[in-house]
């Protein structure tokens, strides 16, 4: 054995380490810092950050097909199992009664999807091919699992930056939204109080809702079926009240394990060689644009509803229609209370927020359908 021939072997970790790896590890540290010290979506950013760190340690073999991250990726991302399982858990945590009590709020869930298409156009203008542009647009759904689901189908090569953008910006909503809200609404609008005297929602309604919604959306937009059905399955498990075991499993074991593995596997795609390029930068900027556009569209539609109803709708709840449940709903309610501590619009905002969740999934499915058809995929 020749010691001099072993030296390169001993130092291989360092000799294969690139500046790109250093940059990506710094990015990983930023994500972990945001998660741990700023508590920004830690359940997602911490695993993503750690996965990114692992992907940039040379020669560890973890991101190879037979490495741990490769195994997790094939098991849960390529099959789309992880985002769908997360949706089962999210569904078990959502209550649709504020929305069912004020069905017109559902319109705000449609308005909050303009960002998807606006971003798509901009991405095309920046030179992205249509399949990639559409995937980037879905960052504007402001819904992690939907973004991952659509990107896996249309442009898996962009999965990492899209997922990172979706989740990072989603966690920055408390910073992104308020200035836009102040800019686009007048103080008078923000002071609008809203009646809340909804009709009672029966348990039967809450049980039928997820079932009927699955069938209706499934027939209207078959491509949205996987996402909407798993969200509704979780909701049905919870609302039925007869399968406590399963609904607890959905909102605990299943979502926790799927979230951890999904985060690691997504993060592990952030290898410097694949991730560090001009496109990633563009996607990050486009993603931010998508969030702003969604908020703007939601607020403008809120103002329209305010005008149409003769000033009975506080436009702030429009900003809650973007999905990002339940942060967006909370922020809208908070903004109203900042102007007038006695003004409580939380229930309306939550109605708009759950509508936004539904709208995001539907819009994702429609985009998938239309683009697949056009590209003949």
């Amino acid at each position: 054995m020749d010691l001099s021939s072993l030296l390169p072997e001993l130092l291989k970790g360092f000799t294969h380490f690139t500046i790109g790896n250093a940059v990506m590890i710094s990015a990983a540290l930023v994500l972990i810092y945001l998660a741990v010290f700023k508590e920004i979506e830690p359940v997602l950013l911490l695993p993503i950050g750690f996965g990114c760190l692992l992907a940039n340690i040379p020669l560890s073999g973890m991101t190879a097909v037979e490495g741990m991250m490769g195994v997790l990726y094939d098991a849960g991302i390529k099959t789309e199992l992880f985002p769908l399982l997360i949706f089962v858990g999210v569904g078990a945590m959502i209550d649709f009664s504020p929305l069912l009590a004020q069905p017109r709020m559902v319109l705000l869930g449609a308005a909050g999807q303009f960002g998807i298409f606006g971003t798509l156009i901009l991405a095309v203008l920046l030179g992205f091919p249509l399949n990639q542009a559409a995937s980037i647009g879905v960052i504007g759904a402001i819904d992690g699992p939907t973004s991952i689901f659509v990107a896996t189908k249309l442009a898996p090569e962009l999965l990492a930056p899209i997922a990172v953008a979706a989740y990072s910006y989603m966690s920055l909503i408390p910073i992104i939204q308020p200035p836009i809200m102040r800019l686009l609404t007048t103080k008078k609008e923000r002071l609008i109080r809203m009646e809340y005297a909804p009709k009672p929602i029966s348990k039967t309604t809450l049980i039928f809702f997820p079932i009927v919604l699955t069938i209706v959306v499934g027939l209207l937009v078959p491509e949205a079926t996987p996402l909407i059905s798993m969200l509704m399955l979780g909701n049905l498990l919870k609302m039925s009240g007869v399968v406590d075991r399963l609904s607890k499993a959905a909102e605990n074991e299943i979502i926790n394990i799927a979230t951890l593995f999904l985060g690691l596997a997504i993060g592990a795609t952030m290898n410097a060689a694949a991730f560090l390029n001009f496109d990633t930068g563009k996607i990050m900027i486009l993603g931010l644009f998508a969030f702003v556009l969604d908020t703007v569209a939601g607020l403008l539609f809120g103002k329209l509803m305010c005008a149409v109803t003769g000033g009975k709708i506080n436009p702030l709840i429009g900003a809650a229609g973007i999905s990002a449940f339940p942060m967006a709903g909370r922020i809208a309610a908070k903004m109203a209370q900042e102007e007038d501590p006695d003004n409580f619009i939380l229930m309306h905002a939550m109605g708009a927020n759950t509508a936004g969740q539904l709208g995001s999934v539907i819009a994702g499915g429609i985009l998938l359908s239309v683009v697949s058809k056009m590209l003949g995929i």
Partner: protein, 109 residues
């Protein structure tokens, strides 16, 4: 260029379809809540007066406190009352049954 036109078409079509689907959902929700509403009238509720007195504002305040608590991270894991599940616990019943029997009988002799 073709892609730009295509993307504009997608936007028009897509947002149209989103609004169309959402409108259908609206219709569905109205129908659903009407058809599946509780037949039992409101007065069955045990504490209707106190609620209507304290009114909506008080409830919203309660809500705000709950949010504040949650934001401070003082939430417990399962704040919701757990619905009873009769059949689910069938297996556990079997277990408990025999376990009780065993304790009270087999072992005590």
């Amino acid at each position: 260029m073709t892609d730009l036109i295509l993307s504009l078409e997608i936007t028009a079509l897509g947002m149209g379809l989103v609004f169309g689907a959402i409108l259908l959902l609206w219709l569905m929700m109205v129908l659903l809540t009407t058809l599946t509403a509780d037949k039992s009238p409101a007065p069955t509720s045990p504490e209707p007066d106190s609620v209507s007195e304290t009114g909506f504002k008080a409830q919203a305040a309660t809500l705000a406190v709950a949010i504040a608590l949650a934001e401070q991270g003082q939430s417990t894991a399962h704040p919701l009352p757990e619905p009873p599940t009769a059949i689910v616990s069938a297996w556990q019943l079997g277990m408990r049954t025999s376990q009780r029997a065993q304790k009270g009988n087999f072992r005590s002799r």
